[in-house]
């Protein structure tokens, strides 16, 4: 029965148990107990039985998935005090000679987890991009001509939230897992099982997310299908919109837990598992950027989770966190009120603003690293760069209320938040200083990755400067909530995080697969992405200045020209991203074989053989110098670089 030992436990058995769990949970509530009546004020209330069923189904689905992939095996052996797994069991769990199946399993090897993350996040990216294409289709011409309005709102919501989840995990996930342990000379992450568990949580979160558009179609007792709130799931609207919001909330909570696990794991790894000699000032910038992002997600994500839990309780258990008692509430039956609509704004944005920095910080680090590599110059001010990154981390917790300049909440604080928001451009400016200083008088090697670095500089510069406009209260009062804002944050997030990600895939592809990515297709897709991206969002700046609101399915003919340009450019952008995906798939299969250190970088991951063996290093290297000293002779493949002596590990 070898095939059963191959398939159980694995993601397949997990999927089976997850399906069973969902059916059991939902059917139990719907058929057996017919719903729990949570509202003693209104004993006849039955409007949310359907949601209770879905909720129970989702919870059991998650449990079934975790049981099915065998995530609970270790906790129970630990709990019952059985024999601790020895090294061989650890290695078997890490996928030792398990073949391809280890990619479809609860595998603790950080490289396997990294690949899993890469695939999952790229699929998420594809679906988010699909949403973007549909949005631009609707906005191509005035009038809701492509989709009904509520369908459009649902698409907007799903695109926004899915993209946010993707970008939260698509740098710290794939590269933070695959590259960073090798970069700091560790054999694995600090908590390998936690690592495998975080990708498992992300997968099940996406499975729940996929339910959103299909929940409660045609049911008389529900508020309809889909979610019409936009990615800022403001409690007031979320309490009333389609019941897809339950799936959205649960999926985002699960993904948040996943990113928190990853954050704790990464921080611990960097603190406790650096190779001897790898002092904090010898870590590559990518590590520092990922650390910053991890700190933000460890401290910030809880806020959104609390917000979403309150929303679900408001909907399903009829609490009143967000119901201020207005005349509107009096129309319904059984809600007392006593909540506040400002609470949801504050809870959301306290997560929401650090979160946008969490998206771009790893890209900052990577871009600085790679600039130094391709300019063959050390970083222009290593400590300056760390100062910039950490300054962003600290300041980003003090700026969230610039999203509420017009909300009427504590208007006397607007001066302070204007100051803190403008102040955050100082550390960001330091990043630019480092980038320019590193390029200056270097030997710039224009690979596709370097192209993405220049694209990053250009787009993030525009995003930052428009951000200054929005940080200023009188200007923001006019621009707030318009297409100008949409264009601004797309320039920072797409131009910052996504460009970094695409460059990073190109850069580490040889290390992950042993093959180079095709350069011609790379350049074609690169230029397509740049043209499409700038065309789309410069046009969006224009219609924003003209006064077009965000998230409208229908708009005045006044804005038709700009929107047509934006839509056509968006299709160019989409096509180019598809080409990039094709490049990844094609090169994975048939790309040219890569040499050991194709970019001539000095960081540790290029000193390991490809494919990286199970525990990365034969002997843990002893690091004797920083990551950027190109003065040392270039290294033939395999031989440790950057003054690394293969010495006995220091206990």
């Amino acid at each position: 029965m070898s095939w059963t030992r191959k398939l159980v436990p694995s993601y397949f058995s997990g999927a089976v148990l997850a399906a069973i769990g969902f059916i059991v949970g939902s059917q139990y509530v719907w058929r057996v107990i017919g719903g729990v009546n949570w509202d003693l004020n209104d004993p006849g209330a039955s409007g949310n039985f359907l949601e209770q069923g879905f909720l129970a189904g989702f919870v059991l689905m998650t449990l079934g998935w975790l049981i099915g992939i065998g995530a609970f095996k270790y906790p129970f052996t630990w709990m019952l005090g059985l024999k601790d797994p020895d090294h061989n069991e650890e290695l078997r769990l890490a996928g030792k000679d398990a073949g391809i199946i280890r990619y479809f399993r609860f595998t603790t090897d950080h490289k396997v987890v990294g690949i899993q993350y890469l695939v999952v996040t790229m699929i998420m990216l594809a679906f988010g991009g699909l949403g973007a294409m549909l949005i631009r289709t609707e906005l191509m011409f005035p009038g809701a001509w492509a989709f009904p309005k509520e369908t459009y709102n649902t698409i907007v919501t799903m695109h926004g939230m899915l993209m946010i989840l993707t970008i939260i995990s698509f740098f710290v996930g794939p590269f933070g897992n695959f590259v960073i342990p090798i970069m700091i000379g560790a054999r694995d992450m600090a908590f390998p099982r936690l690592n495998a568990l975080s990708i498992a949580f992300l997968i099940i979160a996406m499975a729940v997310y996929a339910f959103i558009p299909f929940m409660g179609i045609g049911d008389p007792l529900t508020t309809g299908a889909g979610v019409q709130t936009g990615w800022t799931v403001y409690g007031t609207l979320a309490d009333q919109t389609g019941i897809g919001v339950d799936a959205l909330a649960l999926a985002v909570i699960l993904a948040g837990v996943s990113s928190q696990m990853g954050a704790v794991n990464l921080i611990t790894t960097v603190i406790a598992m650096r190779a001897p000699g790898m002092s904090y000032t010898r870590m590559p910038m990518t590590v520092w950027g990922s650390i910053g992002a991890s700190i933000l997600s460890a401290l910030g994500t809880a806020s959104l989770t609390v917000d979403l839990v309150m929303i679900v309780m408001d909907r399903v258990f009829r609490t009143s966190f967000f119901f201020a008692a207005t005349a509107g509430d009096f129309a319904n039956n059984g809600y007392i009120g006593g909540g506040s609509a400002w609470l949801t704004q504050n809870l959301f944005w306290f997560f929401g603003h650090p979160e946008v920095y969490l998206l771009v910080l790893p890209a900052f680090g990577f871009v600085m690293d790679v600039t130094s590599v391709f300019a063959r110059k050390p970083l222009f001010g290593y400590k300056t760069a760390i100062l910039g990154l950490m300054g962003v981390v600290v300041l980003s917790f003090l700026v969230w209320m610039h999203h509420e300049f017009v909300s009427g909440f504590l208007p006397e604080l607007r001066g302070f938040y204007m100051a803190s928001t403008e102040l955050i451009s100082v550390p960001t400016g330091l990043i630019f200083l480092v980038l320019l200083g590193t390029m200056w008088r270097g030997r710039i090697w224009m690979t596709v990755t370097m192209g993405f670095v220049f694209a990053f500089t250009w787009s993030f510069l525009i995003g930052g400067i428009t951000g200054i406009y929005l940080s200023d209260v009188p200007a923001d009062v006019q621009l707030h909530g318009g297409m100008f804002v949409t264009a601004h944050f797309h320039y920072t997030i797409v131009g910052g995080a996504l460009m970094g990600f695409l460059g990073a895939v190109y850069y580490w592809f040889p290390k992950m697969t042993g093959r180079m990515m095709d350069e011609k297709i790379g350049w074609i897709s690169f230029w397509g992405i740049q043209i499409g991206f700038n065309g789309t969002f410069l046009a969006m700046f224009y219609v924003g200045l003209q006064g077009m609101p965000r998230r409208v399915a229908d708009y005045s003919p006044l804005f038709a020209g700009g929107n047509l340009v934006a839509s056509i450019s968006a299709f160019v952008l989409g096509a180019s991203v598809i080409l990039y995906f094709y490049n990844v798939i094609y090169s994975w299969k048939a790309g040219p074989i890569a040499e050991a250190n194709p970019w001539g970088a000095k960081t540790l991951e290029w000193t390991t053989p490809t494919p990286v063996p199970l525990e990365n290093f034969g002997e843990i290297p002893v690091v004797t110098s920083g990551p950027y000293n190109y003065a040392e002779p270039a290294t033939p493949s395999g031989v440790p670089a950057r003054g690394v002596e293969a010495g006995p590990a220091i206990g």
Partner: protein, 268 residues
Amino acid sequence: MNSRGNLRTPIILWVVISILLAALYYFLAPVLAQAGAIPPLASDVADNAYQIMAIFTYLSIPVFVGVVVFAAYSLFTFRSRGRPTDIGPQIYGNTRLLGWWLAASFVLITVLYVIGFNGLAQLEAAAPASALHVRVTAQQWIFNYTYTDYNISSSTLYLVENQPVEFTVTSLDVHHSFWIPEMGVKADAVPGELNTFVATPNKLGHYTVRCMELCGVLHSDMNTNVVVETSSQFGTWISQQMSVRPASLFAAVQLPEAALLDASGKRS
């Protein structure tokens, strides 16, 4: 080549291009505004906002051009054909440059902040006694306007030229946002809360109110008309409204607002 790494060329480029762009903006901005790049400005708040944006544009041109010019100059000058065989100069940083950079950015931010703060002070100025009081009631998916001075409600917003208006915005159900693009008036309509905004329309005409916060299926249709007219026209409209409305209705029109005040106490 010997031009490698000399700072003169990029700095000259920087200055020249910045001046050119500033001049371009100076001459082009009014034309574009005429062509409809920005809505026609019709209040003191809007004038204030767009003035500040113009100043910001002038200040940000050198920053933008600086980064772009230096990056592009490095790209074209220091580019190596294919994989570099030698290495660049091993410079590990420059403290003096860092100091200048920090000082420059702090100065810039201080300037921006002072400008913004003046604008904020104008924004937060209290309404004069002569102000017209309009209670904006947002609900899915329309705005109602109650003239608390006259006890009249309307679905079209009538304003008086050069008379300050104090909008008190609230919502009956979910978050909305009350925006008049031409007047730069924007205030979120938050259920259970009262949110005030003072502006003075200074140009006659017909404008639009747009909802700026996604509020459900008809969000994109949640627009109403604004009419800015002379005080005499406004007076006739008021008296006419008074005449057509049966007195019994006034109390009814106030109902949602009364409930709101019960709920949120003194805060208004």
